[in-house]
Symmetry: D2
Subunit: 489 residues, 4 copies
């Protein structure tokens, strides 16, 4: 297949931050949720939102909240919730505030300054600022906006800086946050969201026939493992749905487990990439864990629970740099596997389909209008603002996942630093031969560009394979002869 | 002056990572050491090396060490010392090992793998890995190499993985590290290095007549402060030397203090950018601190000790985004002021002069030779290795501060993330008008480049001034009318 | 009633570590479980044991475990489980090992030394040593012994120092510990133990008609609050059972809530005595929490959830020293309320009934036999060992809660330090007038005793009410006159 | 010598908290300062006070402070300095405030309540409360009082709750505390206090001829080591002075080192009792450390630096329970060696001489006056207050080290918990044979006393040697036969 494919194929391309040579990859690892198992949007987020919302009402929140329904055009992944003031923030990698909403109201510059002097947050203050990093957080993100919207407008409640008051009850943004998080944990611990999903798999999960094909193709050339934080029963149900041949299929029935050399559930990422937990075997008849710790060799078709990335490397006999790990969680999957273990990483970014669509549209528009040489800087600034605003709305009400005008979001900067490769879907890998060399362009530093502007396209040596080649010893010049004598000292 | 100057001026240019509009800067802050006060190289590093070395001998290290002298071609800033194995490592931002030396011996790929499986270190393990981040660390870096070199070859000592043995004394790399650090602290606490420097200022510090000129020019348009970790006496001596008019000068004598709106010594950066310490006044007659905490308004010509960046902003009545802070310490000056306070940052990188020289030389060479279309990939790889190696040696024995071939060093990646601007010297700012807009090129993300390759030079709106412009509220669609009633709940 | 009562009343006495003047107590606080609600022993512990055991079997532990039933003569409260080696330890306050069992086998001195060199544990190592502090832990304590007993003898498993091996599964003592703890949390989180208890209250909870009487009497003279970690529904069910007049009673129905000025559930002690959690109101119709934080004044008959001891003091308008807090948990109730808040404390120790019985029996025996003046020290030592052993067995298989021979246990030393008063039951307070002064005997220090042996019963001034009486200033002698002058400095 | 000696010998007695059998002690360890080397009081404290005071003046404190001289009747060891409010507090083990002074003014009950609601401090808040635990702290304690006294009365300064104001300088109690601590560290780091001491040993250190005698006697029956935080040069000078035979002595010159099996300097207690530091040899010709870590066997007459208590046990081949460690620091010496290592401990309490004297005086007075049976409780209370006050003043202006009336101080309670033995001087051990059994009286718990009041002097078995004697296994009753079968599971 032609990798130099035209614009039409851009949605199936793999994008490159750092060079990866597939020829050196001996092992592929996959997360399950939102990586192999793509949830249908907005159906799945709507389900999550409604269950969260209903849970809040069931613990005492006003029943008027039931009138809110999920609006997929509002939330963007990667927003930050300020638990002190109830605002949703879009920030860059340093913590500069790019967009700020309170409920569904966009705050203007002066208002933002009142909340955040210097228009800046210390995002290391994780006690206060909660990063809504994952696709699972989208419904929660929208719910924060709904809650603030409702209580702000509701005449029963008085507005205060830190929350709302009704009689002798004070509803702080902080306690609302805690309630939503508790509701989230409730859904998770009781398994009720998973139960609802499994009852209607066709409604919530995309069954892409290319997935078994894709995994089979990879397994021919490398080892394959799955590492998911989900439990065994859910994992089995989802992967059966995705991988088992349909009843009417002519192909012989093949177990979902046969697609993997190793299946690990309950991984507790990001803990999995550090100290990890006890590795246990799953009894596949009962779905329960075997007691005790597994200490033997790898058994094919066995499912394990817990463990750590170090144990996985041992069991599969591979080194970190030989693994390409494919996941959707920028922190739990990608940052951690890269930073703690030096794995090669592939980030799945479903939103990229939309990002590419808007960008393409705008690119052509820009080319049409161009930027004529107005000398009036005020005119230009105002035009830039207008363009940015329009572009942002093209992505959704909170704008792009990756940018605000020329400024990249926190999410984008983490993607650039930690994901070697990224794409709309892991299936994009199907477009490339199994020995493909993904070659990142050499990004020059500003002072290098300044020099090289004369001598374009300098072929910088590519050392992505990290061959360390120095071999000679260069002794320094010494005064006299530095020699140690046995007698001395 | 013409900013679009040709190649000849490249050593005086300011390079741009993020846009900074000088017109918005209301305050300039300066570190002193290696920022305003540039130490002469290698004289100053030699002095430091010799004092360290002599200290070690005086506490019992073999006197043969005295034969080592400083070799400025060996160390590169930003190396990592592995206190477990005594190796010096050049690493990238993720902890991948690029170059590894043991003493003066470069280790080959297999050797590196034995020390570092996966050729990777967890650089967050600061107990074990010590980053030699500053120009002050250069002499120390070289000393580690000397020590390992000496003991490895000395027949009195047996070599072990974790150190050397002689009789019933075991000299671990860890304890050698501790001894060097203690020696460093000894030089610092006793002030002996500073004393030697002050005795021979002409030998160790560059007196650039443009510095007073530069500071005067800035003070006309903005507030100026100095924030140094040095103590008052040293600060006064150095700045008198740099700023006071020479005795034969015709210009009236002007105090060094008059160049600043605020002078703060003993700042304890990086602590200064967080909680800080107690702010005290310096009694300029005695050089001693006034007892108690200073609580009043800013007095011109007064020198303070301690405090924090927050206090500085209050005293000078400026916000973080209005400050351009100029320093040489990538962590203590630049990363911290950016990350904790959102200041604009300017990194002084003296090595950049050399980096630019080598890069320019190589660029022209590359253009000469080109890269002919050999189809033999083995030939290309081997050629790349050779080129990388040659280029590295062009910089020094440990290679470039910023790169190993196509891979950027940890130092380079921090420079790119945290320094808005950088240059060989802070005096480079003299080349630009006081309202200059340093405009960073828009760096596209890989998927954006893929789209935009058709439509070059898209004028992305520049929002570096962070004007948040949204103003309208977009209410989401709700089922029915979400309205709260007074009666309910 | 005569407090100077004879031996017959000893089981109803309150014992005194530090003087407490009931006349100064303005507020009584009560824990619920094992304080007001006394569970029937061994029925309740048996229930807990069986549910834990069954849970383990249901997650894969061998079904042979089902043959074990609870033996109340084995466990003693306050033992320490060594998660590394699976031993149960009885220790003193410094961590000296007094008794050590592995399963049901008592280890001899040499064996103990092999496990614990110096016969000593660092009990601050809470990662490794788990203190089984509460009456709820008794069933768990027994289960650890059962598990070790079973696997040690089972021929399917090989014995290792850190656990047992069967095929490629390794069952470490650590993982067994984790499984039991998880089972404990499962019982708690699902509420299944509480459910079983509520279904058969007469079987598991002692309904003592003196409790409503006791609370009524106290409420006449002081404020009364309840602070329990249990949730609202369980608390309501238990207290209805204990306090509501029985259906056939002639007295008018009175709500359990009317016995308290303040009822707080979900207290999360010991967190409650420190930072605490959000205070919410309980909606008594639904048993659910009101959303938001309660900020108003105290409403009688209202039930709250969460909060902290500071909030309780505010709501009730009392100071820490005016509160007598009655609980059964040496750490969560007594140590924490004393150490963090300076409350007066009353520890309920149900085992004290048995301890008093055995002690009384032995005292009389001792008096019978006496200790004749054998000069053979070997004979005496051996006799002492025999006596200790016999006495220990009088208490149960792990001996007394409070002693091993002359040595006090960790539990006893905490009781002595943190509990001002202690008794078999909180109802013992009924024996004393509401203004009674519990006066602790003055315990002399060894050097004081040595002096005072001549002058018995020195009436040391009792300062339990902490009147600080000094009022005069005693200026030190100074050289000349220390005076500060306005002009100086 | 007759241990059952009368009252006359009480100052030479060893007092017993827990039984110690000298016959089982194989090793004696000694701290140096205030243990073997007793500083002359108040000469030494005066010296310390003056050097501290002068240092403060030299860094800018008002020279009027020079008029203060040390008053040994004011400070008591073990006071707590409240860095927030500048008060000195005498507290009990729970943090109840017993005495409170501000400068030299005693605060009355109401004043104390304003500072400390509930008359209680959370003494775990070590950020705020600084415990003046050691004899070295006495001069510092007095200095805090002087500083508060001076600034309070000085008309140049205004009084605020958190400190004093003069012009735009605010002198907080916190910063005064920091200045004093810094001055303390300055004296220590520069060695100036030690220098002054060594210049006039006869003035500052008691040369007791029994010390060499005592050490010799011990060395005949056990191993002896010294573990001091002082450095080698100071240690050598002090021990030479104490142990070397005087020039005119007839006995042959014997090195101070020969009195010990092991000498360790720079121990960094309390760190020494935990992880410790690197063990190095001291080069006794130069007093400098050998480089590298010592790894060999014990060499007699060698001096070591650093290390840890574990290393000491290895080198001397003894177990923790076989060591009797003699020191003066309740925390660094006694609590830590007991809690972390299970050593036997002997606390030297020089103040005990005075405590015994006052106690003896008062005992006889009490016996004279008695406590007649006045029924007027007001009269009794007032009398008790008066007695307490008088007794306190008998000890000094801050009263007894150990008591405030019937309440024991924090120091006393730590002494009772962690010191097995205590005495005025370590030389008190000379009064006892080397196999003496120090037998602690059995202290009964309150409920035991209540029972035993009938049957006095029950000979509780003494298990201080910790023989664990149980040997039989007692299998629990099981339902059926708990047996595991090979086939199952």
């Amino acid at each position: 297949m032609d990798v130099q494919a035209g614009k039409g194929d851009i949605h199936h391309r793999v994008f490159i931050n750092k060079s990866v040579n597939l020829g050196n990859i001996k092992c592929y690892g996959f997360d399950m949720d939102y990586t192999l198992a793509i949830y249908k949007s907005p159906e799945y987020e709507s389900l999550g939102f409604e269950m969260l919302r209903d849970r809040l009402v069931s613990i005492g929140y006003p029943h008027e909240l039931l009138r809110y329904t999920y609006d997929s055009t509002f939330p963007t992944r990667g927003l930050v919730y300020d638990t002190a003031y109830g605002n949703l923030l879009k920030v860059d990698s340093h913590g500069n505030v790019l967009v700020c909403t309170h409920g569904f109201t966009y705050l203007r510059g002066e208002e933002v300054h009142q909340y955040y002097p210097n228009q800046f947050i210390q995002r290391d203050d994780t006690e206060r600022f909660y990063i809504l990093n994952t696709l699972f957080n989208l419904s929660e993100t929208y719910l924060y906006a709904c809650l603030v919207d409702f209580f702000t407008d509701c005449s029963r409640y008085q507005n205060y800086q830190l929350g709302f008051k009704h009689g002798d009850l004070f509803m702080s943004f902080k306690s609302m946050f805690q309630d939503v998080r508790d509701a989230m944990n409730f859904l998770h611990d009781t398994g009720s969201l998973k139960e609802r999903t499994l009852k209607n798999l066709d409604k919530y999960v995309i069954r892409d026939p290319r997935i078994p094909l894709f995994l089979e193709r990879i397994k021919e050339v490398a080892k394959v493992f799955l590492a998911t934080n989900s439990n065994y029963n859910y994992t089995e149900a989802i992967l059966k749905y995705l991988l088992d041949a349909p009843p009417d299929s002519k192909s012989p029935r093949k177990s979902w487990r046969s697609f993997f050399d190793l299946v690990v559930v309950d991984t507790q990422k990001p803990l999995f990439f550090g100290e990890g937990t006890v590795l246990r075997q799953v009894d596949m008849d009962t779905g329960k864990l075997r007691i005790g710790t597994y200490t033997g060799h790898l058994h094919h078709g066995t499912v394990y629970s817990g463990g750590s990335s170090d144990i996985i490397c041992d069991l599969l006999d591979v080194k970190g740099k030989e693994i390409l790990y494919v996941g959707d969680h920028i922190f739990g999957d990608i940052l951690k596997s890269k930073k703690r273990q030096g794995w090669k990483t592939f980030l799945v970014v479903p939103e990229l389909a939309n990002e590419l669509r808007v960008w393409t549209d705008n690119s052509s528009k820009q080319t049409d209008s161009g930027c004529s040489d107005h000398s009036d800087i005020g005119f230009i600034k105002s035009k830039i603002k207008k363009i940015t605003y329009t572009m942002e709305l093209g992505y959704g009400k909170m704008g792009s996942l990756l940018r605000y005008g020329s400024i990249k979001t926190l999410f984008a900067s983490q993607l650039l630093r930690y994901a070697d490769l990224y794409a709309v879907s892991c299936l994009s890998l199907l477009q490339y031969p199994s020995t493909h060399l993904f070659r990142a362009p050499n990004v020059l530093m500003p002072h290098e560009s300044a020099v090289t502007s004369l001598t374009k396209d300098l072929p910088l040596p590519d050392l992505s394979a990290n061959h360390i080649i120095r071999s000679t010893t260069i002794k320094p010049v010494t005064v006299g002869h530095v020699q140690c004598s046995l007698a001395q000292h």
